[in-house]
């Protein structure tokens, strides 16, 4: 390690220690697991609904999820209770923090310390979960926020899920890691200034997939949500509406009989004449009956049916009798009577 690097890490260690002392002085009572309790209540409501409707197959799965939610809440309550009786943690010394920062270089692909930004940033190895390549992630710790209850660190990088740009990892949304099991250990390591442990714990959490509690499941990582049916479509089997650009699965969307473009249900309609599906741009209204027709079922803004009726009326009308207003071909006149 160069002298400049040693000096940088030492200065950072001094500032981090100061921040830890401030955080210790401002320490609040342990946080209660409100989010975990909300999860229990949500599962409880779901289970009751499933039971009322007699959905036997879903009942077992929901019951299992409720049990896990209760276990998680109970575990977090135990940690909070332990926190109440545990003596105040002694923050790491400046020397210990310095050694932690120095060790990050060897543990991670990259480790940077920025005094101006008050940040320590490490780069993990590329993460592959169940065959899905998520890429490496930067773990960014802002030591000026160690006194805050949350938001001291963020996760940057990865490649987003096709269905949600904000989800870069199954357990990371908008740069925030949902800590799950890692929560208490992360809180303890940050409070004590054990930065090496903190980064290792975050890295191991990023390298673990919890299919039961993911923002986007890996099985749906590369795919889209169909705008028509709401179902999932893998990228290879997805298309999009060429009018509104919404995503479409293989089973939805139509190919316009006139122009050949793909359109979703909202941007297409059947021709009132032949019933062929066409995009909205290729259908036009008959000035007489106002229904919408494709170009094959109308001529000069009049559908074939109306044209036939007009022709029939002309044949049967007495000589000298003008056609009725309803037969007028002028769009303006029809508009008045529509």
């Amino acid at each position: 390690m160069t002298r400049d690097r040693i000096a940088l890490l030492w200065r950072a260690a001094v500032r981090i220690r100061e921040q830890l002392e401030q955080a210790r002085a401002a320490e609040e009572p342990p946080e209660l697991p409100r989010a975990a309790w909300r999860g229990c209540r949500r599962m409880d409501r779901l289970q009751r609904r499933v039971q009322r409707r007699g959905w036997q197959r879903a009942h077992g799965r929901v019951r299992d999820r409720l049990r896990r939610a209760i276990d998680d809440c109970r575990r977090q309550l135990e940690y909070s209770a332990e926190d109440l009786v545990r003596p105040p943690r002694r923050p790491a010394s400046t020397g210990e923090i310095f050694q932690d920062l120095a060790a990050l270089d060897e543990e991670f692909c990259e480790a940077k310390v920025c005094l101006r930004e008050t940040e320590v940033v490490v780069l993990t190895e590329p993460i592959v979960l169940e065959g899905v390549h998520l890429g490496p992630f930067h773990i960014v710790l802002d030591w000026s926020r160690l006194t805050a209850r949350s938001g001291a660190y963020s996760i940057v990088g990865g490649s987003p899920a096709s269905s949600d740009d904000d989800v870069m990892h199954p357990h990371v949304r908008e740069g925030t890691l949902c800590e799950g099991e890692a929560g208490p250990a992360l809180k303890a390591s940050l409070a004590a200034g054990r930065l090496f442990d903190f980064f290792v714990i975050v890295a191991r959490t990023l390298a673990t997939y919890n299919a039961e509690n993911a923002f986007v499941e890996l099985s749906r990582w590369h795919g889209v949500t169909c705008g028509d049916c709401g179902g999932f479509a893998a990228d290879d089997y997805a298309s999009s509406c060429e009018r509104c650009e919404c995503d479409l699965c293989d089973d939805c969307g139509i190919s316009c009989e006139d122009c050949g473009h793909t359109a979703c249900a909202d941007c297409s309609a059947p021709c009132a004449g032949c019933q062929d599906s066409c995009c909205g741009a290729c259908l036009s209204r008959c000035v007489r009956c106002t229904h919408r027709y494709c170009e094959r079922c109308q001529t000069d803004e009049t559908c074939n049916s109306c044209r036939a009726e007009i022709a029939a009326q002309k044949l049967t009308a007495p000589a000298g009798v003008a056609p009725t207003a309803a037969d007028a071909l002028c769009v303006g006149e029809v508009g008045l009577h529509a």
Partner: protein, 75 residues
Amino acid sequence: MQVLYINNDGGGFADHIHIADGTTVRQLFATQVPHGKPQDYLIRVNRQPASADQGLVEGDRVSITPTKIEGAQLA
């Protein structure tokens, strides 16, 4: 002798403990994590990877972190 033992599993534990002279990493793990398998944990001595048969000395810093830690979606 005394070492700093850190267990990053669950709620986290970090404190100095007394161990017998000549205790190895394997032996310490077996006493502190009796139901765990070493391959399921990252074991570091003084922030460096360590072999199971490495002998511990006074003042060593031993940390044990699960390799699999499940994150979760917020409720």
